[in-house]
Amino acid sequence: MATAIPSIACLGVIGRNNNPLHVAIFPSYDPVTNSFAPVRTPLQFSLLLSSTLDVFELRARHNAATGVGLSGDFGLLHAVDERLAAYGFETNTGTKFVVLVDMRGRRIDGAIAAGLVDIKEKRLGAVAVGLREGEMKPVFKAMQTAYVKLLQNPFFDPDEHAPPAGHGGKKITSRKFADDMRRIGETWTPGVTNL
C-alpha cells in the first residue's frame, strides 16, 4: 500500500436534462502492477456519474428549502468508497460538472517534490492525503471556462444538447473541449490553484 495522493479519475459534464454531455476518464496509479489504469470501466464511471444526479437533486431540493447555495459549487457530493469521491458544480443554466477524485490516484514521490505534502502527513504513511474544502474550485473554474468557450462557438447549439422541453440530448463532440477536459484532468493535483 503505497502512499498516494489524490488525482482526478473522471470528469463528467452533464446537461440540463441530466443527460451526459462529456465524460473523460483518467488512469490512476495501480501499485500492484506499478502502472496507470482507470480504476473503473467506462460503464462503471457512467453509473457513478449518474448516481451523482441523485445528490444534485437532493441538494437542489435542500437548497431551495433553506434558501442557501446560490453559488453553484456543491462541494463533496458523496464518497462512493474510501477511494473514489464525487464533487459537483452546477451552472445557473443547469449544466453540471462532476469530478470523480481517486484519493490514491498518484504516487506520493512527485508530490513530495512539489512540496505539497508536509512532513507530518508523510509520517502518517499509509494514511492517504485528504482534501480540503474548496480544493476542487480550480477544477470547476477551469471546466466552466472551457464550457463557456464551447458556448461561444456560434456553431454550438446548446438546445441541441439539452432540448428545453424534452429528454436527452446530444453529446459534446468538440475536440477542443475534450482536449481542455483532458488537460484539466491530467494536470490537477491537490493544491493546484490555477488550471
Partner: protein, 1316 residues
C-alpha cells in the same frame, strides 16, 4: 458484527438481576461445562413472589432494559441503563477461583488459584499466554450481576409480622453470605412489597430499619413498595429505585476499575497457577498483562458510561497490542495471532463506539480506516498477505461492522428524513485535509463497500487452484501445511470449505453479496438516491444471474427497465447493460413479451453492437416457447425505438374537398448488418377531420419504391375503406364521428440505416387544422406480434425534409410541417342580386330580390340567414318565390340595431337551378345606410357531413329623394277687415264680390268657396293672405315622377286657414307616362300655394303660428316589376314654422296694371293711344289696439308720373286698415341697363311670374319714392311688396312695368281661372 463471538462487541451495560419473582424468562447462566460444576449457587429459601404488584414492578424494570437502546450519547433523558435478567429462586455464579486441573498435582502448595477466565488458570483457553477472550467480556455482561435485586413481601399482619421479618432477615443474610463467599462484589438490594397502602407505611418504618440493620443493607438499597398504588405511583417508585440502583452499580464498576488499575500499577507479571509444560511454555508478558489491565479498565469505564476514559484506555491497549512486544512477536501460524487480531478488532470496535457515542463521526471513520490500514499492513507484512479471500472477507466484515455500529448508534442526523448522505466533520477536524470517506456516510455506502469486498472475496476464492480446494483428508500432508501458510483463515472457513472442489456446500457468496446490496439499496431508496439504488439493483441482478436465479433477476429489473431514468436521460451504456442483463434473465424465465421488447429496443444503433448476436427481430423468441402467441404493445416513450418517423405536409394550406400531399419518412436506425424489419402495417393518425391512414405491407406492391443511396421513396395510392364495402355500417354512425380510414399498400421493409419515404395523397374533408399525431407500427411474425406507438412532434421529428426524389430534398420552412390548415370548401352556390339599386328611397316599400344559383354538381340543401345591420333597422320578411306563399312569411327579429332572420329553409336546390328569394322591407322613414348579409349554409347531398357556407354582403342605401326650401310671402287679402264699429257689417263685408281686388287669394272651386264663406262667417277676426313658395329638388339618382304636391297646414285653433295650389305647379298629365311631372336628378322645381288665414275673433291679437308640411306624391319612372299597379309613394317634408298675425303695423304695396287704351281712362289724351298705367295701392294695416298716425309721401321721379297724394297723413283706428292709391304712368325711356330679371333664385321677393318667358324682355322696373312714416314714433315703415313687385337693395319697392306692346295680361285673372 454477528461473526464475532457473542457479546464481544456488545455495548457494556450493568447487569441487574432480580431474584424472588416468578417470571416467564428465567436467567440461565451460560457457563461452559468445565465451569458449570464449579459454579456457585446463590439461592433464596423463601418462595418466589407471585403478587400482581411484584409482577408489575418487574415488568416495568424489564421494559426498561437498555441493551437495545441506541448507543448514542445525546440521549440524556435516561438516568439509568441496566441490562435486566430475572431469576426466580436461584442462580449460578461462575467460580471466582478456578480449581486445579484434575491431572495436575500442585508442585507447591502455595500455588494461588486464579479466576477461570484468566490466562493464569490452566482451565482457561487462554492458558498460558493468551491475552483476552470473549469469555471475560461475557462474564461481566451476562454472568455476574452488578446489582442483585431481591423481592420480598412485607407482611403487615401483626401476628405474622415478626415471624416473616425473621425469615426475611435469615434469607437475606444467607444470600449475603453466599455472595461474599463467592468473592464477587455484587451489590445486594431489596425491595419489599407491603400489603398496606402508602398511608400506613410510616408504621413499618421501624421494621424496615430493623431489617436493614439486621442484614447490614445499605440504606440506599432498601425499597418499600406500598400496596394499592396506582401505576403512576409505582412507576415513579420504580424510576427512583432504578436511578438509585444505577448509582450503586456505577460504584460497583468503579471499584472494579480501581482494582484493575491497581494491578497494572503494580507492574509485575503474575505467575500462573501451574507453570505451563506444553508448547513453548511461554507465559504472557508484562505488555500483555498491561493490555489486559487497560482493556479491563476501559471496559469498566464503558460500564460507567465514562466513554472518554474508556477511549483512552482502549487506545492504550490497542497501541500496546499492536506494539512490537505483542502482535509483532506472535508468530502468524499460532492461534494466538488470530486471537490477538480478534482482540484488536474488539478494541477497535469499542473505540469506534466510544467515538460515535461522543459524536466524533469523522474521527470514527478515520479510526475505522486506520484500523483497517494497520491490520492490512500487519497481515501483509507478517501474515498471509492481503490478496486472498480471507482478507477480503475480513474487509467486508469490517465494513458491515461499521454499518451495524452506525445503525446501533442511531445518529439523529442520519434519519432518512434529513436526507443527509454524510455527516459534516466535527469542529476540531474541520480545517484538516480530510479524506472524503472520513465524512461519515450513511450505512448504504458501507453495505455497498462490504458487497464489493465480498465480491472480491468470491473472485479470489474462485481463483484458488484446485489443489488448494481439496479437503485436507484427500490431499498430501505437505500441501495441507503449505495451504495453511497461504490462506488467511481468520474468521472464515478453510479453502476447501470456502469453495469446495466438488461444488457442494461452500460459502454462498452470492447470498451474502445480495444481502448486502439489498440492505444498501433500501438505505439509498430511503434517501431518494434512485439512480444509485438502480445501480445496486443492477449489481444485485448480475449477482443473481451468476447463480441463475433468473426469476428474481426479472423481478428486480423489470420495473427498473420500464421506467429507468437512464434511458430518458441518455445514459445509454447503462440502459444497454441493464437491458442485456434483463434479456438473458427473461429468456431464461420465458418472459416472451420482455424479450421481444428488449430486442426491439436493442436493435437501435445507439447501443453498442454486440458481436455474434443475430440482430434479427424475427429470431427473438428462439429457444423460448410461450404458451400463447405474445402480442406486445409498446407505447411512445417507453423505449428508445430504432425508428424515427417524421411526417410532412407539402402545403401549409389546403381546401376542404381537395386533397393534399404528405410524406411519411421512417428512418431506421437499426444496427448495421441487422436483418431488415418487415412491418405488417403502418398506421398514421391525424387530428381533425382526417382519420387514419393505414399502410399494409405488400411485397410486390404496385409501385416498387425508387431507391437511391439510403432513401427509398414510394408513392402510395389510398382508397377509402368505407367506400369499398363498409358503407352501411359507417352510415349508422353519427356524421361527425365518422372518420375516414384510408388504406394503401406498400412495401414496408425497413432496411438498417435507410429512410423509407411514403408519399400519400390525403383528402381533406372539413375545415380546420389537421395534424399528424401518432404512428403505429405493426410487426407480425409467426412467433409474435408487436405494436409500437410513436408520436410525431417530439424532438425526434426535427427533420422537416420533403423528398422531391430519392436524391434531392428540400426543407419545408414551416414551423409545424406536421400540420396542414384546411380552409373551408369554396362554395359554388351563388347569391345574386340582379336588380340591386344603388339607392332606395324613404317612404317606399323596398323589395329586394335575390337569385340563389346552385353551380355545384349536386343538389344542395340550403338554409338562409339574413342579417340587416344599421340604425333603426326595420323588421323585414322573406319570401321564397314559388314556395308556399300562403303561409305567414318569416320575419326578422330586431335586437340592438340588428335585424336577424335565421334558418330560413330554402329546400333543396337542384344542380344548376336557381331560386329567388324576395326580401320585403317596409317603408323606411329616415335616410340611412344598412349592411345586409345573406348567408346561405348548405350541404351537398353527396357529402352531408360537410357544411358549406356562402355569404353575400350588400349595402342598402336608403336616402330621402327630395329636399325643399320654403318662402312665405305676404299678400294683400282681398277681403276688408271687419270694423270694430260695425257689428252687423261683418257678415255683409264678406258677402261682397271681391273680383276687383288683385289680392288673388280666392278659393278655387265652388265648394271650397262656400266653406270659406261659412268659416268667414264663424271667424270674424282679421285676415291675411300669404303665398308659400316651395322649391323642391330631387336628390334621387334617377328620374322620378311627381304625381302630386300638396301642403298640409296646421294652425292654432284661433286661426282658420285655407290654402290653394297655384296653377303651374304641376304640368298636365303626360301623354305617355300618365300624369305628373318627371323630375330629373338635381333639378329644382317650384310650387306655390296660396294661404288664406283669418282669425276667429277680432279680439284675438296675439300672433299665431303656421305649421306646414309639404307632401310630395311620387312614383318611380321605371317600375321594377311588371305588375300593373304603380305604387305611389308619399314623402312628407316638414316646413319650418311661420308666424302670422304680427301686432306691428305693416305696409303692403300692391300693384295692378291698367292695360293701354282703356276707353274709360282715355279722356284727356285722345290722339294717341293712352299709355299704360299702373295702379299702386298702399295698404297700411294696423293690427294693434292703438290709434296710429302715418305720414305718406311720394317723391316725384323722372321715371314716371303719378297721381295721388304727394304727401298725406293717415289715421288708423285700432284693428283697421286703410289704403292709399297712386296711379303711375311710366315715362317712356330707353330701357335702363338694370339687370332686368335679377335671377329669380337670388331675388327673393320676386314672384314666379316674371320668370315666365318674355316677362322681362321689354318691361322695366320703376322705383316710386314712397315713404311711410309713423308720425308718433317718427319711424319709417318698410313697404312690403306683393305680387309683381320687388325690393331693391336699399329696401325700396320696385314695380314691374310690363312692356308696352304686350297684350294685357293679368296674372290675377289667370290665377282665378286656373284654380281647380
Amino acid at each position: 458484527m454477528d461473526d464475532y463471538q457473542a457479546g464481544s462487541l456488545d455495548p457494556n451495560i450493568p447487569l441487574l438481576l432480580t431474584l424472588g419473582v416468578s417470571a416467564g424468562s428465567i436467567h440461565e447462566a451460560k457457563l461452559g461445562a468445565a465451569l458449570k460444576d464449579q459454579a456457585i449457587l446463590i439461592r433464596s429459601e423463601l418462595p418466589a413472589l407471585d403478587s400482581d404488584q411484584a409482577h408489575a414492578l418487574l415488568g416495568y424494570i424489564e421494559d426498561h432494559d437498555a441493551s437495545q437502546l441506541p448507543a448514542n450519547g445525546r440521549d440524556t433523558s435516561r438516568r439509568y441503563r441496566f441490562r435486566v435478567k430475572t431469576a426466580e429462586r436461584s442462580f449460578l455464579l461462575p467460580p471466582r477461583r478456578a480449581r486445579l486441573p484434575d491431572g495436575v498435582e500442585s508442585p507447591h502448595l502455595s500455588a494461588t488459584l486464579h479466576s477461570p477466565f484468566s490466562p493464569l488458570s490452566p482451565v482457561s483457553p487462554l492458558y498460558p499466554d493468551g491475552l483476552m477472550d470473549a469469555q471475560w467480556i461475557l462474564k461481566h455482561q451476562d454472568l455476574v450481576p452488578s446489582v442483585l435485586l431481591c423481592f420480598y413481601d412485607l407482611v403487615s399482619d401483626p401476628t405474622l409480622a415478626t415471624l416473616c421479618d425473621n425469615r426475611l432477615k435469615t434469607d437475606l443474610n444467607n444470600l449475603r453470605g453466599l455472595l461474599s463467599q463467592s468473592g464477587y462484589k455484587t451489590r445486594l438490594a431489596v425491595v419489599l412489597f407491603s400489603d398496606q397502602d402508602s398511608h400506613s407505611v410510616d408504621s413499618v418504618q421501624e421494621r424496615l430499619e430493623a431489617i436493614r440493620r439486621a442484614c447490614a443493607i445499605d440504606a440506599k438499597s432498601l425499597f418499600l413498595a406500598p400496596s394499592g398504588e396506582s401505576p403512576d405511583e409505582l412507576e415513579r417508585m420504580a424510576e427512583n429505585m432504578l436511578t438509585t440502583l444505577y448509582g450503586v452499580a456505577i460504584e460497583y464498576f468503579r471499584d472494579l476499575g480501581r482494582h484493575s488499575r491497581k494491578k497494572k500499577a503494580r507492574g509485575v507479571v503474575p505467575q500462573p497457577t501451574v507453570s505451563p509444560t506444553s508448547g513453548t511454555s511461554q507465559t504472557l508478558s508484562l505488555a500483555g498483562w498491561n493490555v489486559r489491565y487497560d482493556f479491563k479498565s476501559a471496559m469498566f469505564a464503558e460500564y460507567r458510561l465514562e466513554l472518554g476514559n474508556a477511549l483512552l484506555s482502549f487506545e492504550q491497549a490497542y497501541e500496546n497490542l499492536l506494539g512490537p512486544e505483542l502482535l509483532e512477536a506472535i508468530p502468524s501460524w499460532s492461534p494466538r495471532w488470530n486471537e490477538a487480531r480478534f482482540l484488536a478488532d474488539v478494541i477497535a470496535v469499542r473505540c469506534l463506539r466510544c467515538l460515535l457515542w461522543n459524536g466524533q463521526h469523522s474521527a470514527a471513520a478515520r479510526r475505522w480506516q486506520s484500523h483497517r490500514d494497520r491490520i492490512a499492513e500487519f497481515v501483509d507484512r507478517r501474515g498471509r498477505g492481503i490478496s486472498n479471500y480471507g482478507w477480503k472477507a475480513w474487509e467486508a466484515r469490517w465494513a458491515i461492522v461499521m454499518a451495524n455500529l452506525i445503525e446501533r448508534t442511531a445518529i439523529p442526523d442520519f434519519t432518512p428524513a434529513t436526507m443527509n448522505l454524510y455527516l459534516q466533520p466535527e469542529k476540531n477536524v474541520m480545517g484538516e485535509r480530510l479524506q472524503p470517506w472520513e465524512l461519515l456516510h450513511h450505512t448504504g455506502y458501507w453495505y455497498h463497500l462490504a458487497a464489493k469486498h465480498l465480491s472480491a472475496r468470491r473472485n479470489l476464492a474462485h481463483a484458488m487452484s484446485e489443489d488448494d480446494r481439496r479437503p485436507p483428508s484427500s490431499s498430501p500432508a505437505s500441501h495441507v501445511a503449505n495451504k495453511a501458510f497461504t490462506y488467511d483463515t481468520y474468521m472464515c472457513p478453510d479453502p476447501h470449505d470456502e469453495y469446495p472442489l466438488n461444488g457442494a456446500g461452500g460459502v454462498d457468496h452470492s447470498r451474502m453479496i445480495v444481502d448486502c446490496l439489498k440492505r444498501a439499496r433500501s438505505e439509498f431508496l430511503k434517501r431518494h438516491q434512485f439512480r444509485f439504488a438502480a445501480e445496486l439493483s443492477l449489481e444485485c441482478a448480475k449477482e443473481l444471474a451468476l447463480v441463475r436465479d433468473w426469476k428474481r433477476v426479472v423481478e428486480l429489473l423489470r420495473s427498473l427497465w420500464r421506467d429507468m431514468s437512464f434511458r430518458s436521460e441518455g445514459w445509454l451504456a447503462i440502459a444497454e447493460d441493464l437491458s442485456w442483463a434483463l434479456r438473458s434473465a427473461a429468456a431464461a424465465v420465458g418472459d416472451a413479451d420482455l424479450v421481444i421488447a428488449i430486442d426491439w429496443e436493442l436493435l437501435g444503433q445507439n447501443f453498442t453492437r454486440r458481436t455474434n448476436w443475430h440482430y434479427d427481430i424475427t429470431r427473438s423468441l428462439e429457444g423460448i416457447a410461450p404458451k400463447f402467441k405474445p402480442s406486445v404493445h409498446i407505447e411512445h416513450g417507453e423505449l428508445l425505438p430504432f425508428v424515427s418517423p417524421s411526417f410532412v405536409f407539402r402545403d401549409e394550406e389546403g381546401k376542404a374537398g381537395q386533397s393534399t400531399r404528405g410524406q411519411l419518412a421512417i428512418k431506421s436506425n437499426a444496427q448495421q448488418g441487422s436483418a431488415p424489419v418487415v412491418l405488417k402495417s403502418i398506421e398514421i393518425e391525424f387530428s381533425g377531420s382526417v382519420g387514419r391512414v393505414v399502410l399494409q405491407h405488400q411485397a410486390g406492391a404496385a409501385t416498387e419504391p425508387r431507391k437511391h443511396g439510403s432513401v427509398a421513396l414510394s408513392a402510395v395510392s389510398l382508397t377509402d375503406a368505407a367506400k369499398d364495402g363498409a358503407i352501411s355500417e359507417v352510415e349508422n354512425l353519427d356524421e361527425s364521428n365518422r372518420k375516414l380510414t384510408l388504406h394503401g399498400n406498400a412495401n414496408l421493409t425497413l432496411l438498417p440505416g435507410q429512410t423509407t419515404v411514403f408519399g400519400v395523397d390525403i383528402p381533406l374533408r372539413e375545415a380546420g387544422e389537421t395534424r399528424a399525431v401518432a404512428l403505429k407500427l405493426g410487426f407480425e411474425s409467426e412467433a409474435f406480434d408487436l405494436q409500437q406507438s410513436l408520436y410525431f412532434g417530439s424532438g425526434i421529428n426535427s427533420s422537416n425534409l420533403w423528398y422531391i426524389s430519392t436524391s434531392s430534398t428540400k426543407r419545408v420552412a414551416r414551423a409545424i410541417p406536421l400540420s396542414v390548415r384546411v380552409l373551408p370548401r369554396p362554395p359554388k352556390l351563388k347569391i345574386k342580386a340582379p336588380a340591386w339599386k344603388d339607392q332606395y328611397y324613404n317612404d317606399e316599400p323596398i323589395q329586394l330580390e335575390f337569385g340563389i344559383v346552385n353551380d355545384e354538381a349536386d343538389g344542395a340543401l340550403a338554409k338562409l340567414d339574413v342579417d340587416l345591420f344599421g340604425e333603426d333597422t326595420p323588421v323585414f320578411s322573406i319570401e321564397v318565390v314559388g314556395q308556399g306563399a300562403g303561409d305567414a312569411l318569416p320575419s326578422s327579429t330586431v335586437v340592438n340595431d340588428e335585424s336577424k332572420l335565421r334558418g330560413v329553409s330554402l329546400g333543396t336546390i337542384e344542380s344548376s337551378k336557381a331560386l329567388t328569394v324576395r326580401l320585403n322591407v317596409p317603408p323606411i322613414e329616415r335616410s340611412n345606410r344598412y349592411d345586409l348579409t345573406m348567408r346561405v349554409t348548405y350541404h351537398l347531398s353527396t357529402a352531408p357531413g360537410t357544411p358549406i357556407l356562402q355569404t353575400a354582403l350588400l349595402q342598402l342605401n336608403v336616402v330621402n329623394p327630395f329636399e325643399a326650401n320654403y318662402d312665405l310671402l305676404p299678400r294683400v287679402h282681398p277681403d276688408p277687415w271687419p270694423s270694430m264699429f260695425d257689428y252687423d257689417g261683418v257678415n255683409g263685408l264678406s258677402g261682397g264680390d271681391d273680383d276687383g281686388n288683385d289680392g288673388s287669394s280666392g278659393s278655387g272651386n265652388a265648394a271650397h268657396a262656400a266653406s270659406t264663406t261659412l268659416t268667414n262667417m264663424s271667424h270674424k277676426g282679421i285676415s291675411q293672405a300669404w303665398c308659400l313658395v316651395t322649391r323642391y329638388a330631387s336628390f334621387a339618382s334617377e328620374d322620378l315622377r311627381v304625381v302630386d304636391v300638396d301642403i298640409r297646414v296646421q294652425t292654432a285653433r284661433t286661426v282658420r286657414c285655407f290654402h290653394t295650389k297655384q296653377l303651374g305647379v304641376l304640368p298636365p298629365a303626360d301623354e305617355d307616362r300618365g300624369r305628373g311631372r318627371l323630375i330629373r336628378p338635381r333639378t329644382i322645381v317650384e310650387a306655390a300655394f296660396d294661404i288664406d288665414a283669418r282669425k276667429s275673433t277680432l279680439d284675438g291679437r296675439s300672433p299665431s303660428t303656421l305649421d306646414v308640411s309639404f307632401v310630395i306624391k311620387w312614383t318611380r319612372c321605371h317600375p321594377d316589376t311588371s305588375s300593373s299597379e304603380v305604387v305611389v309613394n308619399t314623402t312628407t317634408l316638414p316646413v319650418p314654422r311661420f308666424t302670422l298675425f304680427g301686432t306691428e303695423p305693416r305696409v303692403l304695396a300692391s300693384v295692378s296694371h291698367i292695360p293701354p287704351n282703356p276707353p274709360s281712362l282715355n279722356k284727356d289724351n285722345s290722339s294717341t293711344r293712352t299709355p299704360q298705367l299702373a295702379v299702386l295701392h298702399l295698404i297700411i294695416e294696423n293690427a294693434s289696439a292703438h290709434f296710429l298716425t302715418f305720414g305718406v309721401s311720394m317723391e316725384p321721379s323722372d321715371e314716371f308720373a303719378f297721381s295721388g297724394p304727394k304727401q298725406t297723413t293717415l289715421n288708423l283706428l285700432p284693428v283697421s286698415r286703410r289704403s292709399v292709391t297712386y296711379r303711375l304712368l311710366p315715362l317712356p325711356r330707353p330701357p335702363p341697363p338694370t339687370p332686368t330679371p335679377t335671377t329669380p333664385s337670388t331675388n327673393k321677393a320676386l314672384p314666379p311670374t316674371p320668370a315666365t318667358p318674355g316677362g322681362g324682355a321689354g318691361g322695366t322696373w320703376i322705383k316710386p319714392g314712397l315713404v311711410v312714416r309713423d308720425k308718433y314714433f317718427q319711424k319709417v315703415l318698410r313697404v312690403i311688396p306683393t305680387e309683381g313687385m320687388k325690393l331693391d337693395k336699399d329696401g325700396g319697392v320696385l314695380i314691374w312695368i310690363p312692356p308696352d306692346e304686350e297684350e294685357g295680361e293679368t296674372r290675377s285673372g289667370e290665377k282665378v281661372e286656373a284654380a281647380e
